[in-house]
């Protein structure tokens, strides 16, 4: 089906179902229950899940297949965001040209940066990409936002103003980003018993694009091109003495993954037309590395799971404050309640990074293959099979991609 093997097709099917039903799956708790704060099924967060999923899928094409660890991928995310907002400013609020331009510009930048960075491998490659990303950040944050030539609008961030030209804006078309008239921020709410489900246009557009991006990545993984990339990761010496030139392969992988990042950046602007330089900072580049490793580098579904987990932590754990903790432990005697709250306090709220860090360490040490390896182990436990030769990356995770 669709040029995929049965196993891959099933995986794609699972992703499609999860993406389409996410508003239900991510909202397991009724609205007025105490657990409602763990619900992730609201538009803003769901959009982040799929957009950063695209970012991580693209990053995995470079890192998972070739082993080249780029520490500057956020630069392409930012370039994509700026490109999309500029299309809004110049042409109008339709998201299509913006998303297309964000893919093209980030592809061009990836090509330029790739030509230089890929002259080195290993840690030197990582440092070069990091340097380029920090230069891009500095350019966007200050250099390119002076009164004479204001490309990025500096700290404020690039946004659309009423006096922007918007040459192709039709009469009566929405004054917010839209996809052929469908407003990106339009949300259809459905109340069902105690539950509230939200269906957001922006989310569904991003989800469809994510499914397409995921499909393309499966095709790349299973293609001769993907095989060559894995061969480069495995043994570059043999690759060269086999009569293959590794450089164009790695460059192509770098450009493809840069375009994925640009697409993600464009979508971030499409759902919220504001692009700031902080999107390009090195912490953002590090985040996508974490996502990919957490989920399982080199696996198909891993990066999506990893990005989901990190975004969930970022948005849900960070909201648990002391008041919430007190209400959880209120059944305990006062002294113990205070003690519990003091103990847990550093790991939630503003300290969510601490929980993430601990989790990351545990996974890297005990599950080097990331969440996907965890899923495979559970599967093997259930089916009672011994650790077979299932080292291939056919990950059939059945846990929801939150």
């Amino acid at each position: 089906m669709l040029g995929l093997h049965k196993k891959d097709f099933n995986l794609l099917l699972i992703v499609v179902v999860l993406a389409m039903l996410a508003p239900f799956i991510l909202n397991p708790f009724p609205e007025n229950s105490g657990l409602a704060q763990f619900n992730a099924g609201y538009p803003d967060l769901m959009q982040k899940f799929v957009i950063f999923g695209i970012f991580a899928i693209g990053f995995n094409i470079l890192f998972g297949l070739t082993g080249y660890l780029s520490f500057g991928h956020a630069a392409f995310l930012g370039i994509g965001s700026y490109s999309c907002v500029w299309m809004f400013k110049l042409l109008g609020y339709s998201v299509v040209p913006g998303i297309l331009l964000s893919i093209v510009t980030s592809g061009i930048f990836a090509w330029l940066i790739g030509i230089i960075s890929l002259r080195r491998s290993g840690i030197y490659f990582s440092i070069l990409t990091l340097a380029f990303a920090q230069m891009s950040f500095a350019l966007c944050y200050s250099v390119l936002s002076n009164p004479k030539f204001n490309l990025t609008n500096g700290e404020t961030g690039l946004q659309v103003y009423n006096n922007d030209p918007q040459y192709f804006r039709g009469e009566g078309s929405p004054n917010v980003p839209h996809f052929f008239g469908m407003e990106m921020n339009a949300t259809h709410k459905m109340e069902l018993g105690g539950w509230l489900f939200q269906f957001n246009t922006g989310y569904y557009l991003c989800a469809v694009i994510m499914v397409l991006a995921f499909y393309l990545s499966i095709r790349i993984f299973r293609s001769p091109f993907g095989m060559m990339l894995r061969a480069i990761k495995s043994n570059n010496t043999r690759m060269n003495y086999t009569g293959l030139n590794a450089r164009p392969y790695t460059l192509a992988a770098f450009v493809i993954s840069g375009m994925y990042a640009g697409l993600a950046g464009g979508l971030l602007s499409a759902v919220d037309p504001l692009a700031g330089a902080e999107r390009m900072q090195w912490t953002a580049s590090g985040e996508v590395v974490l996502m990919t490793i957490l989920g399982g580098a080199g696996t198909l579904i891993g990066p999506v799971l990893g990005s989901g987990l990190i975004k969930y932590f970022e948005n849900i754990f960070s909201k648990i404050n002391d008041n919430v903790l007190h209400s959880w432990f209120s059944f305990m005697p006062d002294g113990i309640e205070d003690l519990m709250v003091t103990l847990i306090h550093p790991f939630v709220g503003k300290g969510w990074h601490l929980t993430l860090g601990v989790l990351f360490m545990l996974i890297v040490i005990f599950l080097p293959g990331g969440l996907v390896e965890g899923g495979q182990r559970i599967k093997r436990l259930i089916s009672g099979k011994k650790a077979a030769d299932e080292t291939e990356d056919e990950a059939t995770q059945s846990t929801p991609a939150e």
């Binding site: 040029g3 995929l4 093997h5 393309l216 095709r219 790349i220 299973r222 293609s223 001769p224 091109f225 993907g226 095989m227 060559m228 894995r230 061969a231 990761k233 495995s234 043994n235 010496t237 043999r238 690759m239 060269n240 003495y241 086999t242 009569g243 293959l244 030139n245 164009p248 392969y249 192509a252 493809i256 030769d389 080292t391």
Partner: protein, 251 residues
């Protein structure tokens, strides 16, 4: 005029003369061994032949074309394949995939972007790869993870990967180093079989005299970066200069 011609090659590393005036001619379709004690310059010579090192002076030509200054992949495309001292295979890939990659390279050249085709639809390539595996008696191992195989099997696979491209010259760098006796003998048999079945020139650098004398038709003895003698195996065996180079003057 041989298929591989090395003329007046010199290479210095700082104060060390690694190669001094090396002249070497490898006849087409012969098995030519290069032997010598440790530090004789065998590996340096090999690295010059495959484009990894550029000599200070002299020339190296393959089939009339200079190989100097070419990249390894270009030299490979000229028809020179190299087998390494420690088997260099794609450890993370299956045996069959290992075998498919050189066949892709032979068909498509140094680079081709086929990113959305499905590699399991490349029937011709797979068939050819399986054919090579069968000739190596490895067909039953095609789905093995190549990194988990024995040294001998890895060597066998590596040689197969080289042969699948139908090279005109096969360069082997101590192909039996670090191998068990049985694996060594298997490798010798494999190389003999290759020699009998194909029109191929084999140049072999080796420490193990058993391997050298079972295979070679011509032998060059290197000592201190210079060829000492070049002759048939029978003449080399009793050659006083060779004994001297290997065992020291008192022997």
């Amino acid at each position: 005029m041989g298929i591989l011609e090395v003329k007046n090659v010199n290479k210095r590393f700082g104060g060390l003369q690694a190669l001094g005036d090396v002249n070497l001619s490898v006849e087409e379709n012969s098995v030519h061994a290069i032997i010598g004690p440790n530090g004789a310059g065998k590996s340096t010579l090999l690295n010059v032949l495959i484009g990894k090192l550029i000599p200070d002076t002299g020339s190296v030509s393959f089939d009339g074309q200079s190989v100097l200054g070419r990249k390894p992949y270009e030299i490979c495309q000229m028809g020179i394949s190299r087998v390494f001292q420690t088997p260099e295979i794609f450890g993370e890939l299956s045996v069959l995939e290992n075998m498919m990659i050189p066949i892709f390279a032979k068909r498509d050249g140094a680079f081709r972007m086929h990113a959305v085709e499905n590699s399991s639809n490349e029937k011709a390539i797979i068939e050819q790869a399986e054919h090579v595996l069968e000739s190596l008696n490895m067909a039953d191992k095609r789905h093995f993870n190549s990194a988990s195989m024995s040294r001998g099997d890895k060597r066998r696979l590596e040689i197969g990967m080289c042969l699948s491209q139908n090279p005109r010259l096969l360069l082997l760098d101590e192909p039996t180093a670090g191998m068990a006796r049985a694996d060594t003998n298997n490798t010798i048999d494999l190389l003999k079989q290759i020699k009998d079945e194909r029109d191929i020139t084999i140049a072999i650098i080796e420490h193990d005299m058993h391997v050298v004398f079972s295979l070679a038709e011509r032998i060059t003895v290197l000592a201190q970066g210079t060829p000492l003698v070049e002759d048939t195996p029978d003449n080399i065996k009793g050659h006083p200069k060779v004994r001297e180079a290997y065992l020291g003057e008192s022997a």
